[in-house]
Symmetry: D2
Subunit: 384 residues, 4 copies
């Protein structure tokens, strides 16, 4: 029985991989090993590890490695400590294939440990283009990986162009679309986020139009994290529309964003913004599926929202270069431009569903490849 | 003044980069920072750090990170510990550009630390093709690097094909050829290796024909390291030709090779093989420039020897895929084949000099690029 | 000139050592090196490093080592990572003597690194008795230390009884009393904590009687951290007296305490409790010097408050075993007992000043010893 | 069933603990967990891990943590890395009590990890007195330990005087004496060390009088390691008596000693010294039990040799302060003094057996305490 070890290092990664885990878990030819590491273990972002267990998966190992602090040095230390810890974990679990997801900085520790221990490495969501440190990490992981499970036709071409063997590059769609498909029928909003998740700030009337904001600090612009957050807060505040705001990832710059949110809250107790730390991936999708616009720079605006047809205002450089459907309106950090963009998307309303990132079948496709593809660690630069 | 930080992690890397250091050191627009790390600090391979100081360079920092043991797990631990240590070093030295050399497993720690700290990274000898873990490391480092200093036309094409911006890929020749050019006039052998370096085993008459052997364990075949060493020892021993044998790198599998050498020595006290732990790069080149054939799997056989026209028997898979000139005869591990190959090369004698890896100008070219190229950490997958 | 390296790993440690730094800094025979590490660098507790710089000290090195999470495993990882990092720092700073303070778990990394590098180690506040993991750490550090700078007569006897050479055990008073002496004249309260430090919760009328609470999780009872916090919040809330509440240290259990505080705040928006994350040591002392009772388990209640004569209710086991003056009333976690104890102390009012922990001269005495005592790393168990 | 986890970090530690493992392994009320770490895993000193398995014990975990190099900085790094690794191991094995042996520098990682994870810690061979870094480590570990299993009456008094609870200090004898008792009947020498262990150098006639040398570098005198080795080699060489010489531990300074041995061998091929890297503890004891004198600074000369009555010349400061029986003659590094001392001990011949370190019952006594003693992590300084 093939042992497939999936390493999850962040909240967003779990959301993206969940349907893959479901398909792997019910196969007879696969033993699923789930490893939870780095910020997926840290409390500040809500213990993702607990969510995974509640969803019925067995967590084989938890790997603590997140060094506190939000400078780049701690990214280096977290990766180094993660490498030391996960090497021992792989040696113990002895998987036949290791799966790493996307492009967060700490995923390179997973990729290196698997490579050096000569365990075949599968990489999900390679070949996409964004810029920033994610860009370097993503393609470096592709060069360490032996199997590529890509989301779009363009990504497939990119990975092959980079010199990977076409026989090992599989267009499996993006697993995040599976979740979107699962919840698209849940309209109107069928739960109370305030009762279920608490959060802080005023209770908002959600029967009317509301916005959702999720804005992460940009790794290469951490010095501006606080200003970026302040701009968006100012615009949302003066528009005075009910808004659900989500806390950022634990990344370089996150402390700046968090501080700005706290400062804002102390000074604007009557604002119509309600702040949440975390939400189950499904509930979050249901929430944005019922909103009038999603604002920020989360990849959810690019991926899941393309399938769901949600109007999105994408702020700044974080998603620059990524393929997007017509539901996305790009915009800089300038407050007036931002307000215009939000109003324009609210006016437009719902878009047609796009299958750019998939049709909801990724969980099945990826699990098939992981369970049956030939496994090897032997590769060479391959240009036809 | 631009601060250029060169990280040296192994004996062979220093040899390759030395003329670059010389050119950088005498420039007025560059402050050279030399960091010595990992196995370049470890005693078993001869303290490279001391050699570097004796050559007149100031060593800015020494980074201890080599975890003892020769399994793949220790490669992972060494890389993790190296990452933690070198992150602090870069923060302290605050270089404008970091230089990493070739493809040893621990060089990825240098590349990650520089990338995450947003220090532009220059990579020397990217784009070559070999197989094994080096192959993965080399191309992953290219995807983390911002400047590429490649040795051959083919490597240049490869790096650009992988999606790197052509404006940042510089064909600078291989710096190892510079050293070869410097010593090519030193014929016949003008020093006694026994007096200068000691070593163990019988003294050999070097006025006659002699062989040189340098055979490293192959990272992906560590279980066979001892057998591979034993085969070569057996062939050399029965041919009964004076031979200078060099101890392998501190790599996974090195202990197997070392054990076999020790066992051989105890049983064959009268053999004509003399064993050395280390030698200055120049003296080593002079030694092979005067030998009748170089045997093993060192990249010196592929690079420097191509320029010098030395007959080379390259054993096994370690250099597979690398471009080579006509001086190289490839051969498997089978003892009889090996003996035939050696005799064939000894009969052929000297080859014409090939400029495949350069003409001896790399130190100048690389230092020019490092001193003057535009520095940025901003990059995106680039396919024309 | 003797190089004295003081390692500060937490907010409370800086408070205790500040007058020592002042005295060391103005001496001509000492070069002061300040190293800031672990939770003293972490943002959640307020960047102590910035406070130290604002106070005019040069910070020689910052050592990031705090692994995120509040379980005991992260205490182990933080200590291991701290050891690796601080070893390099000591090698670089090359101090003549290293100073470590008190008994937090990560101080043992400082002590081990200095000992193994054969740098004489001075330990401040050894010989006290408390229980919990602090107790083990404190005495283990004493056995690694070469100079002991103790606060009380009893501590001096204890350290000597443990087998330390009496000639190297100096009764230098507790430096925390120096700060208390400096601010004892500042009555009534001469600054607005709300304007200066923000914090969250209702503004309180401080011209009337008010309480101050500082309750840390107990390392050996982390499972109860949340209940302990909840009990005290419930009692303070029902007594309805204006209260200034301080966030706990970043320790195992701190997340439980923090969560309970957040939960309380959401449910009790009108409560008379105002919450602070951090305050300068001086301002904090002025604040408690003007309160009607200090409640919790901070060592400030035992030390500084004894000199200032502040009525203290010490809750639970954290300070058990420590010497205390008559100003301290001990009490369990039971809510009714706690309320009785608080009322009793409020009724009693101010106590006489006690010199149990010193008279305000520790900074001078400790700096004298550090600057002039004979330094050696050679010691043996010494029982007369 | 009580889970007892014994951590073995070096060759000598295994030798000392072996009879304890045998007794623990055959009990019904104990599940034995053996963890092999640090230099006990490293190849240079002979894989102790393999020896342990061959002796029939199950090795639960192997912990790689030895950072290569012989300076004090690597001792710090090895301890830090070991702490990180062993914390995860303890979390996984979840033992009821952890056992650490004696006073090597890396044992403090075991002690800290157990303490912070609140696992009761048993310490074997506390309370002895030596000097050097071992002295600090040994007593610091005692202050972290909850159960003390001491070898001599004096050690028992020392541990209690240091403030440990007398009820938790058990005089269990030294387990190394058990091994000595087991082999004392094996006279004359009943195996050929050359056939069984190889080694290098001339074969020696062992039917006549022979010496055994085991001399470790002294941690606080590493700069002199090479000189100390050279002196002893010179004396032994000029006395021209057949000698079995053992390679030193992997410690700071070991490289100096090793180099000197290698240099000596190259220059003195005809010498009557035969060099061994490792030998089973039993065979080593049989070898010294049949020699005419044991020379060096190994604790075997102090402990096992006292029971066996072997004439011992103890060189230098390494064992200074330790209790010894009348079989030991102390001596400095001066060559002439050393020669006089050796001749004097050879003339004297066998001594009476001393029970200073025990009568051969330690394995049983220690296993009884580990299996049945009350376990707690709660302790306080305790002076009656």
């Amino acid at each position: 029985m093939r042992k497939v070890c999936v390493v999850i290092t962040a909240r967003a990664s779990y959301s993206r991989i969940k349907t893959v885990l479901l398909h792997l878990d019910r196969r007879n030819d696969v033993e699923l090993q789930v490893v939870v590491a780095a910020s997926a273990l840290a409390d500040r972002a809500g213990r993702v590890s607990e969510v995974i267990k509640r969803d019925g998966f067995h967590v084989s190992e938890e790997v603590s490695s997140l060094v506190e602090g939000d400078t780049a040095l701690q990214m280096v230390q977290t990766t180094g400590l993660g490498l030391i810890e996960i090497g021992s974990v792989f040696k113990r679990l002895n998987p036949d294939v290791v799966v790493t997801i996307a492009d967060r900085y700490e995923t390179i520790a997973t990729a290196i440990a698997a490579s050096y221990l000569r365990i075949p490495l599968a990489h999900i969501q390679g070949g996409e283009v964004t810029g920033n440190i994610d860009e370097k990490v993503r393609h470096a992981v592709s060069k360490l990986a032996d199997l590529h499970l890509v989301s779009t036709l363009k990504s497939q071409q990119n990975v092959i162009s980079m010199g990977e063997d076409p026989k090992r590059v599989f267009l499996t769609e993006c697993p995040s679309i599976d979740l979107a498909k699962n919840i698209e029928h849940r309209m109107p909003l069928d739960f109370s986020p305030f009762e279920k998740y608490g959060g802080v700030g005023q209770q908002i009337d959600l029967s009317e139009k509301y916005l959702v904001v999720m804005q992460h600090p940009v790794t290469s612009e951490t010095d501006f994290a606080r200003t970026h957050a302040a701009n968006t807060l100012a615009v949302i505040s003066r528009m005075d529309i009910p808004t659900m705001w989500f806390w950022p990832n634990v990344d370089a710059g996150a402390d700046g964003t968090s501080k700005e949110i706290r400062r804002f809250r102390e000074l604007n107790e009557a604002s119509k913004i309600h702040f949440f730390k975390n939400m189950s991936p499904e509930d979050f999708l249901v929430l944005i599926n019922n909103c009038s616009a999603l604002i920020g720079n989360s990849s959810v605006g690019i991926r899941e929202s393309s399938y769901l047809g949600i109007p999105v205002v994408n702020i700044g450089t974080r998603q620059l270069g990524r393929e997007y459907a017509e539901n996305v309106l790009h915009c800089g950090y300038e407050p007036d431009d931002l307000e215009v963009a939000i109003r324009s998307q609210m006016t437009h309303g719902r878009y047609e569903s796009s299958h750019l990132y998939g049709s909801g079948n990724a969980g099945y496709l990826i699990s098939e490849v992981l369970a049956t593809a030939e496994l090897t660690t032997d590769k060479k630069l391959n240009f036809q």
